[in-house]
Symmetry: C2
Amino acid sequence: MVERRKPISVEDAVAKVSANSVIKQKETIAIEEAYGRFLAEDLIASHDVPAFDRSPYDGFAIRAEDTSRASANHPVCLDVVGAIGAGFVFEEEVQALQAVRIMTGAPIPKGCNAVVMLELTKEVTSENGQQQIQIKRSFNQGDNISRQGEDTQKGTILVEKGTQINPGIVALLATFGYAQVEVAIKPKVGVIATGSELLNVEEPLAPGKIRNSNAHMIMAQIARAGGEAIYYGKLNDDFDECLVATKKALTEVDMLITTGGVSVGDFDYVPAILNELGANVLFNKVAMRPGSVTTVANLGEKMIYGLSGNPSACYVGFELFVRPMVRKSLYSHLPHLRKAQATLGVDFPKPNPFMRLVRSKVDFIDGQLVASPSGVDKSGIVSSLGGADCFMVLPGGTRGYEKGMTIDVLLLEDTQGSEWPWSNIVASYK
Amino acid sequence: MVERRKPISVEDAVAKVSANSVIKQKETIAIEEAYGRFLAEDLIASHDVPAFDRSPYDGFAIRAEDTSRASANHPVCLDVVGAIGAGFVFEEEVQALQAVRIMTGAPIPKGCNAVVMLELTKEVTSENGQQQIQIKRSFNQGDNISRQGEDTQKGTILVEKGTQINPGIVALLATFGYAQVEVAIKPKVGVIATGSELLNVEEPLAPGKIRNSNAHMIMAQIARAGGEAIYYGKLNDDFDECLVATKKALTEVDMLITTGGVSVGDFDYVPAILNELGANVLFNKVAMRPGSVTTVANLGEKMIYGLSGNPSACYVGFELFVRPMVRKSLYSHLPHLRKAQATLGVDFPKPNPFMRLVRSKVDFIDGQLVASPSGVDKSGIVSSLGGADCFMVLPGGTRGYEKGMTIDVLLLEDTQGSEWPWSNIVASYK
């Protein structure tokens, strides 16, 4: 009746999942839709920046050689022969002892090779009524000119594919003329909730029942990871019903998550269903708390996840094992949660043979990361999930942990991500 | 021709902006749409959690008193009179020397007051064919029972209004039956780009022209802040055209941003337009780099922003002055960028009389925040924006800054936010 399961380490479990390939696909969308999506191609500078020699200031474009003898006592007067606003071009070649009024960003006129800031000039009128400027110092060729290509040269890779598009990247896309953007197609991730105890959210509570929170939570986690959630509804603990639904879902999605039905009880059909499907089970128990009863399998290029029905365990299982595969299919080479070191803000006196992943909150105190649990760490408890922005990683062992120790945290809301494997998991005194 | 402007400090500028009221409005949406939105009402526990006394393990529900004399040498045998899966209720009252097979999460049957874990029992059959379990130790009343309300009591505020809904909060909403969620209506933020030098993104580069990156960038910043962007297009530097467009936009939006047209040049109409509208100008110059030429005004309950046409200045101006007003209208009481201390990763030898806000990247090194510029800090340079996840805050003064000093950073991608005013801006050796 009860299946025996051998737990593997979290590191091994993530490595086994990560070893699988995923389907990556691109689509072309308008720049207006690009924010939050993932680049499917490197963002390459399509021209130099600046694209032409331009003025960084409001002032006057001049020929530096005309000012070579200028001083406070012997100012030079230049004839103002025109004005160029940003976006306009001065068509004539500027001659000796001439100057052109120039606005920030406007191109340097032919013949000029320096810019004098407005506040260093004085407007005067010559005896014959010619508008002039007085300049009281000399300038060198190239003074106050932003040179073509000095910021960025054409062909430079500005942002690597697999990066999530933030507002700054949108600015780059616009600058370089990417009205259409190649982004990763969001992988379709199916969600099936199982368990006769589950009520739909809108149903009133009834004796013995709980509302189906996991499916909604996972759909939000899928969205945060960058995928598209497809909900197949809540099934009863019935083998045939679960098998039919699973088979149907697998024809429509890139990955499939079932939640519930994987604790070691009498009404759990996930192992039998995976067997019936001919799926290759990577592991069915992980040496971690919460979420030890987590099953991951593959069937061709599709991953199938049996996450625990326990909300916290389900949440952790998603972030460790599903999120990286979603991100991989979004071309990310940093698909895992970003890891950082933090000071432990509380005591964890009780040892645990399994690695604990504690839903926590990071504070920044005097320039240091300090992590504390976001709620009571009981795996059945849902209220700590709302405030969590990281997991503490407490390796399993025979000793507890004390406030002030250095531990690793995995950041949930970070936009950077990390590679796998973790170089090392620490938990020690500094 | 050139307007004189008196700069005010960044602190004063943000305080002046924050002193304005904003329109807050609610709407009711389905839980499926809630991820990423902002709660307009506190999330309150609508029932106890657990809602009933339940079993945290797979095992047998028993009467503790039946085991009072049980030991390894004198095990007690209890008749198994039924089984309860999660979601089911055992209808009869359990009598002396009876036990009920119980799954994780199932309610404790009437008459029982403890649960024995499966692995501590042995299944046996009595001489008359009755299925029994053998128990080799005694249990106390309440052993292994998750008590009604032990996680959360009905009526508890679990998440405050103004909080952005993350996957954990979605789980809470589902658990407590919020099939419909009260969220803040996204404020409508209008965007007008001005400047004859601007090309649309799809247009080929031409002499003297640059593509309009600011409008696209700001629309993504509005989305990140939680607002709804409405784009009114790119206008030429023409007073009447700008005035008509501004008036039209103000009838349709909650806040209006213009970009370009506020540097002190000849082709800038923002001051005249604000005057014509009868808007109250809060300030038109801020002692900061980049973005010193930033104008903020109000007209009734609507904010009007004149952000610099320079991309970096525009970006900074948005995050300091627009974002908090967007967040306030989303019911947030932490509307400003989250502030943290960090170690300065590079030298800034040149002093600047104005406060610098340097587009930067935070690394977590040995448990500490370390901030370094995400690109060359030249205000015309767009490429550093893509990699920025914070601003360094370098107060103005007569000295530069050195690598290793402690400085403040404002985090761009953080989900928490902060209050205003900043308690203090530091930049010092530890």
